[in-house]
């Protein structure tokens, strides 16, 4: 045990550094001398904590409290727990946890599951292991320090005793939960760091995987809801006679109006309930509704774009200040300015929002939902029904993609409200048009950048103003602009070694529901930053990769707080997860090497490079592009290097980088939502295209940096550098600089 790292409860609390982590520990590991955990532990099992239950048949039940949406957490989470407890992978039974605060933070967003909970999961496994060891030691009358857990059994070398985990369950029930536990040495990992196959692979390839949309309850009604096209609008008049006449339609109900701020509450509207989805949709089409569009009736995205750009040009409040930018501009050999724009986007998970609900005999409610946030779902349902959240039971299904949309449980609350009103189980299924038009949109943004270069081409000043309606507007109707959390996503964490820097934020009022989309504000901040860095390289007459390294400067740790920024570092410490320009530069060098940076390219081809740190990981991307005979951009190949610190399952990291490449291409080439008269114009994959296989690169090459550091995020950080890498490659190929997304508006897609 000497090479094990012992971790005490106090240390653990300090390391997790978050109320959520502390809460989990308190709940899971302070149950006195009796093991606690699942509510209904039968006598033939022992549950050292809420994540693990060991049965006397030797099976180890592991509770996955995070949502699976393609990132692979249902494989990676048990990998960590099973490894620490020395459980045999083939004897793991994975159980999807209900929404319950006893699990601590269950919000599956912010790429947090591993980066924030790695130690929590290890503790859960190590606690189970140490209790089994203690049980064996007590049974054999030998010191626990002489016993070792290995391959689903505890062994005592001196006496030759050995007992399987299942055999030790009864004795383990009498063992106190340890005050402190030891983690395995990384050298002894069996599963952590291994590309274990998907735990749901068979179900997903045979049609047996169950998503939110697949829930079927006895006597269930199927609902489709017509909502006001403008956020906050209300019903002026309703004629539902034709809808009620559609065969199969059982009822038509008006939902309560939307709230201001919208939070996660339903948007209101008219629900048609039927005995199948198609009848509900047909009934819905037959509704005759006149809407009062309300306060956002005049919203026009084209006009709004101009207003955003004006605000960005005028400058905003300072959020980071270093040196004296004005003096540097006065002394500059060259001053360069540019404006960048990126539009609203929809997450558009292939499974649209869907949830089923039924009321229970005790006045509670039970829901099945593809939610990223089961406890938010619990709270929102409780709020809409006016009941205590303890009476709301949330079953988490698989998610057919999430990308941030399913962090918002408005659709779950719709199902719950309709179940109560009808007295029958109800499933709500959003159409694709509902999803694209009426979700929580990725924010639209305008940015103005200005840089000073000296006679040698060094960047001596960097000024940037970012303007976008804030996600805060979803929770606070008075919110008018970017908040510190949002600015910490690719703006105030600027790593460039430019001696004079001023970063500003300008206000913008929201007219649609604004929400998270995979990598959030990093999308537009990285687009502007990495493109503008490329612009400066050409102005300086330098190679873009060399100039990027020059901007990053010498290896050092950057603390935005030193320049006055309010910076949260994704709610983790800069000590454990620093902004380390040495590590960022290493990623640049690696990805450039992978792509053969500097090689002779075919005629008309160009390479572009971008690097961006987000969610505590750094991703560098190189794109190779050309323009085909029809004038369309072709992305031939992508190369990606990621520094995510310790990696649990390399293949899942690679797959996330591959997926991020396609997701990033979609927003670079095609993604745009516009609005007229308060309503989103686009509605399906014809008007809101995403990349298809014929546009996908021939290869997406991924390298995982070997770095001895705590884990960073994986699900999101691959996205931000893709669009600027493509735009920079297009410039290299054509000499044309594009400063707005998507590229189809420049005729390139």
């Amino acid at each position: 045990m000497s090479d094990m790292e012992r971790i005490s409860r106090r240390e653990f609390l300090q390391r997790t550094g978050k109320a959520g982590g502390g809460l989990v520990l308190a709940v899971t590991l302070t149950s006195g001398c009796q093991p606690s955990g699942q509510d209904a532990v039968d006598e033939a099992s022992v549950a050292p904590n809420v994540y693990v239950n060991i049965r006397d048949d030797g099976a180890v039940e592991i509770y996955c409290h995070r949502s699976e949406m393609g990132q692979g957490i249902r494989t990676c989470l048990p990998q960590v727990i099973a490894d620490e407890m020395e459980a045999d992978w083939d004897r793991i039974e994975l159980i999807q946890a209900l929404g319950d605060e006893k699990y601590g933070d269950q919000n599956t967003d912010g790429s947090t599951s591993i980066r924030q909970q790695f130690d929590l999961l290890r503790t859960a496994g190590a606690t189970a292991r140490e209790m089994l060891v203690a049980a064996a030691a007590a049974t054999w009358g030998v010191p626990a320090s002489e016993c070792e857990a290995r391959e689903h059994a505890v062994h005592h070398a001196t006496s030759g005793e050995s007992a399987g985990f299942g055999e030790l369950v009864a004795a383990a029930a009498d063992v106190a939960v340890p005050e402190e536990v030891a983690f395995k040495s990384a050298d002894d990992y069996r599963y952590i760091g291994k590309s274990i196959d998907l735990i749901d692979g068979f179900d997903m390839t045979t049609g047996q995987a169950n998503y939110g949309i697949d829930t079927v309850l006895p006597d269930m009604l199927y609902a489709s809801i017509e909502r006001c096209p403008a956020v906050g609008g209300t019903i002026a008049s309703l004629d539902d006679a034709a809808a009620r006449a559609v065969a199969g339609v059982a009822d038509v109900l008006q939902l309560p109006d939307a709230t201001s701020p919208p939070v996660f509450n339903p948007l209101g509207g008219v629900a048609v309930l039927a005995n199948n989805t198609w009848a509900a949709q047909k009934g819905r089409e037959a509704l005759e509704i006149e809407w009062d569009y309300g306060a956002n009736a005049a919203y026009d995205s084209a006009t709004y774009r101009e207003a955003l750009a004006e605000t960005a040009r005028a400058g905003g409040r300072s959020v980071l200040e270093r040196g004296d930018v004005e003096a540097a501009f006065g002394e500059a050999a060259t001053v360069h300015e540019a404006e960048y724009f990126a539009p609203h986007l929809s997450q558009a998970p292939m499974e649209p929002p869907a949830a089923a609900a039924r009321m229970t005999d005790d006045g509670g409610c039970e829901v099945w939902a593809c939610t990223q946030a089961p406890q938010s779902a619990q709270q929102t349902v409780a709020g809409v029904l006016g009941i205590d959240k303890s009476k709301v039971k949330v079953h988490v299904t698989l998610l057919g993609g999430g990308f941030g949309r399913k962090s918002k449980p408005d659709f779950v609350a719709e199902a719950a409200w309709l179940a109560r009103e009808t007295g029958r189980p109800v499933k709500v299924t959003w159409t694709r048009e509902d999803d694209i038009r009426q979700g929580y949109l990725h924010s639209v943004s305008a940015q103005c950048l200005k840089a000073a270069l000296d006679a040698d081409g060094n960047t001596t000043a960097w000024q940037q103003c970012t303007v976008f309606p804030s996600i805060g507007s979803t929770f606070d109707a008075a919110a008018t602009g970017p908040n510190a959390m949002e600015l910490g996503l690719g703006m105030t964490d600027n790593p460039y070694a430019v001696p004079n820097m001023r970063l500003e934020a300008g206000d913008a009022k929201a007219h649609l529901r604004i929400g998270w989309l995979r990598s959030v504000c990093n999308v537009y901040h990285a687009f502007a930053n990495c493109s503008f860095a490329d612009e400066l390289a050409y102005l300086a007459g330098a190679d873009p990769k060399d100039y990027l390294l020059q901007l990053l400067g010498p290896a050092r740790l950057v603390d935005p707080g030193e320049d006055g920024a309010e910076y949260a570092n994704y709610a983790q410490g800069l000590d454990t997860h620093p902004i380390d320009t040495g590590r960022i530069a290493a990623v640049v060098e690696k990805v450039a090497d992978m792509a053969g940076w500097g090689r002779v390219l075919p005629d008309g081809h160009g390479l572009g490079i971008a690097v961006h740190r987000s969610f505590l990981s750094t991703v560098g991307t190189v794109a190779e592009v050309s323009v085909d005979d029809a004038g369309k951009l072709v992305v031939h190949e992508l190369w990606t290097a990621i520094d995510a610190g310790l990696v649990v399952n390399p293949d899942r990291v690679i797959s996330q980088m591959e997926g991020a490449g396609i997701f990033g291409m979609s927003l670079a080439l095609h993604g745009e939502l516009t609005a007229k008269n308060g309503a989103v114009v686009e509605g399906n994959f014809d008007t809101y295209p995403i990349v298809r296989m014929n546009e996908a690169p021939a290869a997406i090459n991924v390298h995982i940096m070997e770095v001895d550091a705590p884990p960073g995020g994986v699900g999101e950080p691959g996205v931000p550098p893709v669009a600027p890498a493509i735009v920079n490659a297009y410039f290299a190929a054509s000499g044309n600089r594009i400063r707005e997304l998507p590229l189809r508006n420049s005729g390139l897609a």
């Binding site: 393609g70 997903m204 390839t205 949309i213 199948n276 797959s655």
Partner: protein, 152 residues
């Protein structure tokens, strides 16, 4: 009105509006939820099923048009889940969220049926109607090549 058809080798008589898209007849009436809903407009391929050897978009294909025909969905592609395409999908860990994969697999199996050794271009032609928001396209290409090798 009843629509009689065969689904995955089993006879069904579905009491539905004949205009109901096959997708909803499968999911809400026959109880086969392996076929998924994605767009409702034949734009994404997620709802693809095989009707008498042809891949159709079940979200716009009236159930009456399948009367008397053999419908194969993801649940019936193979008896044990070991169609070469399914095996290759698992060996390369193709799925991320997995939601579009039933439609992808139905399309890929049909491609290999008519072209046992497709090129990348053949695959792109056959598969570009199937959207994947997670972005598994490069692995799908590789898995189709692998399935082609495995069954040759």
């Amino acid at each position: 009105m009843a629509v009689d058809l065969t689904i995955n080798g089993q006879s069904f008589s579905l009491d539905v509006d004949p205009e109901m898209p096959l997708l909803w007849a499968l999911r809400d009436v026959a109880g086969l939820t392996g076929t998924k809903f994605g767009c409702g407009k034949a734009l994404c391929g997620i709802c693809n099923v095989n009707v008498d050897g042809q891949v159709v978009r079940s979200c716009v294909f009236p159930v009456a048009a399948a009367a008397g025909k053999n419908v194969t969905t993801i649940e019936g592609l193979s008896e044990d889940g070991n169609h070469p395409v399914q095996v290759a999908w698992r060996e390369l860990n193709v799925p991320q969220c997995g939601y579009c994969q039933p439609g992808q697999i139905i399309s890929a199996a049909a491609l290999l049926e008519r072209n046992p050794n497709p090129s990348d271009a053949d695959i792109d032609n056959a598969m570009s109607g199937n959207l994947c928001r997670c972005g598994t396209y490069t692995r799908i290409r590789a898995a189709i090549h692998k399935a082609a090798e495995d069954q040759s």
